[in-house]
């Protein structure tokens, strides 16, 4: 174990890591790369959308990167995730390739779903991605079902169900939490509280305390600073291990913020949230800046190394956009394919 790794261990409070995983410095750098990749990806989505190259809607994840990166760091490739309409970050963090992601967003044949799903429905069995879901809380059942299958089949896979705090208003969430705890299913309910249900502050839609909800079912729960990727990973890893070993479900409340509006077109938003609030979150609470500062301060990386990471990922993302823009649309005859297996 290197000095840098030991320092990282001390700073994160995380142990030597799961067998087969790299040491903690590698993990910190990997999470840093994942967050930068998501940020660069979303910047390009914003650009494609505003240049009218992307049809439909774009719900951006920038600001929330630490959650996807930190939780997926605790998962294996075979583990499952379900995602949301704000799902690009989850898909990338679980291992999706940016070129095929962009192709899907542009409705191209080369996309993950042959252009049939789009931004809100990216799915990829190869990386355990059961699919992003455009119904708020629509994937709670799918995630719990995948966890049911994992337990029944004994394959030790864990499923993470990502959802926003808006899903707390949906009854099916509580049906699934009840069933998951009743049957001790290996599912992690990851509630990303970015404060706004679309254009409405969550305090106007949510009675009682969020953490009282898992407590009511006796589900182990933890509240985490969703901007601190080290804290997210440190909280997620033991819960994932516990679920994998048959300990049952867990609930994570991850406090975070979405930098953009509900979607790219949501520009004039001062009526529902103040500019000062946006600036506060995007400043010292930015997840990439937080981890970058930590790596520099602890001497785990220097500025040149972090810049190099950014430059390499920028080249990769630009190439991915280029690939997607140039890729052909599906032939119209494709419209009737895949309705039935």
């Amino acid at each position: 174990m290197s000095i840098a790794t030991r320092k990282a261990d001390a700073a994160t409070g995380i142990g030597p890591g799961n067998p087969g995983n790299p040491g903690n410095l590698d993990r910190l750098l990997h999470m840093y790369k994942q967050m930068v990749a998501i940020r660069l990806f979303e910047e390009r989505v914003n650009d494609l959308y505003t240049r009218a190259l992307m049809p439909g809607l774009a719900h951006l994840y920038d600001g929330e990167e630490a959650i996807a990166a930190g939780i997926c760091e605790a998962l294996t490739r075979e583990d499952y995730v379900t995602s949301t309409h704000r799902g690009h970050g989850h898909c990338l963090a679980k291992g999706a390739s940016p070129d095929r992601m962009f192709a899907e967003l542009l409705g191209k044949e080369a996309g993950y779903c042959k252009g049939k799903g789009g931004s809100m429905h990216i799915a990829d069995p190869a990386t355990g991605n059961l699919g992003a879901n455009a119904i708020v809380c629509g994937s709670a059942g799918l995630a719990t079902g995948a966890a049911f299958a994992s337990k029944y089949l004994g394959n030790r896979r864990v499923t993470v169900c990502f959802f926003g705090e808006g899903a707390l208003g949906q009854g099916v969430l509580y049906e699934e939490m009840n069933l998951a705890q009743l049957w001790k299913l290996p599912v992690i309910f990851a509630c990303e509280n970015n404060l706004y249900n679309e254009y409405t502050h969550f305090s106007e839609t949510t009675a009682g305390e969020i953490m009282a909800r898992p407590a009511a079912f006796g589900i182990t729960s933890v509240e985490v600073d969703g901007q601190n990727v080290r804290a997210v990973y440190a909280a997620a890893a033991p819960l994932v291990d516990r679920a994998r070993d048959g300990g049952g479900p867990a609930f994570m409340l991850l406090n975070t913020y979405r930098y953009h509006g509900h979607h790219v077109g949501d520009i004039a938003r001062a009526y529902y949230r103040p500019k000062a609030e946006e600036q506060e979150w995007a400043g010292d609470r930015d997840p990439i800046k937080l981890l970058g500062d930590f790596l520099l301060k602890e001497g785990l990386a220097d500025a040149a190394a972090l810049e190099k990471i950014g430059a390499e990922l920028t080249r990769e993302m630009d190439a991915a956009v280029e690939f997607a823009v140039r890729a052909p649309y599906p032939d119209p005859s494709e419209v009737t394919q895949d309705i039935y297996a």
Binding site: C113, A123, G131, G141, L142, G145, A149, E175, D338
Partner: protein, 335 residues
């Protein structure tokens, strides 16, 4: 000593027994099949259709759930995507309203939305049918709803033989299949079922009775009513054909159209509502496909367009009867 080797391998089973036998045989064959729903284990469902299954397969495979239709159907969808073949039991078809998002926005669309990557081999069993004095929320026949959605398959069997063969195909299908079971038929409809293995493909209709003068297209409970009317018509010299599509999707369009081309008249019978219903689809289909052979307007005879009432004197007039089918056929035949 009796020669059991050459004895006919046909047994008389009820509709419900045939369904139970199909599920049991498939569960013996494939360990990834589980069945979940409310009171399905020791209780064997409220209709006792599954009695005994928990003794053979245990509570890990015949699974009692909380009263959370959306919750356990969602689990069925997710488990189907990840290596299992779940059967979800919706006690009353009326409760389909509670699982519509899981069925319509999730199960039906996952294969298409994922570009064909994820499959959902799920069976949703639901009941249908009125005249059990169960009133408006436990009596509806809502098979038109899933039939409307691309990505779902819908089965509406009328006989024990069909129910068994179609259930086995539904379980083996890689798509979400909604399987409607008529509650009255569970014990009232009996028929011969071979003991040997067989399946019936989804999307193949069956001519239940051949005739020359008029076609009844009937589904589920209405097949028996159509057959009764056909017997009455025979006594007055009218030869009625009874065609059972057996699945509303995929739909055996050819068998329906060919029958009407031959007989030149058609009454569509369905226990669901006629308006915007399965009957409307059949009627449109034969009107388009057999128009130049028709001697009378294609006519629907379906459930009355009212919430199902409780009082026997009210409920009984909401469901088509043999007498109504007979009278309507007489009229269409100019008698």
């Amino acid at each position: 000593m009796l020669d059991t080797q050459s004895a006919p391998a046909l047994r008389d089973l009820t509709f419900g027994e045939a369904i139970r036998e199909a599920i049991a045989e498939e569960m013996r064959r494939d360990k990834t099949i589980v069945l979940m729903g409310e009171d399905v284990a020791e209780a064997g469902t409220t209709f006792k259709v599954l009695t005994g299954l928990v003794d053979e397969f245990g509570k890990d495979r015949i699974i009692d759930t909380p009263i959370s239709e959306a919750g356990f159907t969602g689990i069925g969808v997710g488990a189907a995507m990840t290596g299992m073949r779940p059967i979800v039991d919706i006690m009353f078809g009326d409760f389909l309203t509670l699982i519509m998002d899981q069925l319509v926005n999730q199960a039906a669309k996952i294969h298409y939305m994922s570009g064909g990557k994820w499959k959902v081999p799920l069976v949703v069993r639901a009941t249908m049918g009125a005249t059990r004095r169960s009133a408006a929320q436990h009596s509806q026949s809502l098979h038109a709803w899933p039939s409307h959605i691309p990505g779902l398959k819908v089965v509406v069997p009328s006989t024990p033989y069909d129910a068994k063969g179609l259930m086995k195909s539904a379980i083996r299908d890689d798509n979400p299949v909604v399987f409607f079971e008529d509650k009255i038929s569970y014990t009232k409809v009996k028929g011969q079922v071979p003991s040997e293995e067989y399946t019936i493909p989804l999307g193949v209709g069956d001519v239940k009775r051949e005739g020359r003068d008029i076609t009844f297209i009937g589904t589920s409970s209405m097949v028996q009513v159509a057959l009764g009317a056909a017997t009455m018509l025979e006594e007055v010299g009218i030869s009625a054909e009874v065609v059972d599509p057996r699945t509303t999707w995929p739909l055996d369009e050819k068998t329906l159209i060919e029958s009407v081309k031959k007989t030149s008249r058609c009454i569509v019978m369905d226990e669901g509502y006629g308006r915007y219903g399965v009957g409307a689809e059949f009627a449109a289909l034969v009107a388009e496909g057999a128009f130049y052979n028709l001697d009378a307007p294609v006519t629907r005879l379906c459930a009355m367009h009212v919430p199902i009432p409780f009082s026997p004197s009210l409920e009984d007039v909401t469901v088509p009867t043999e007498r109504q089918a007979f009278d309507l056929a007489m009229k269409l035949c100019g008698r």
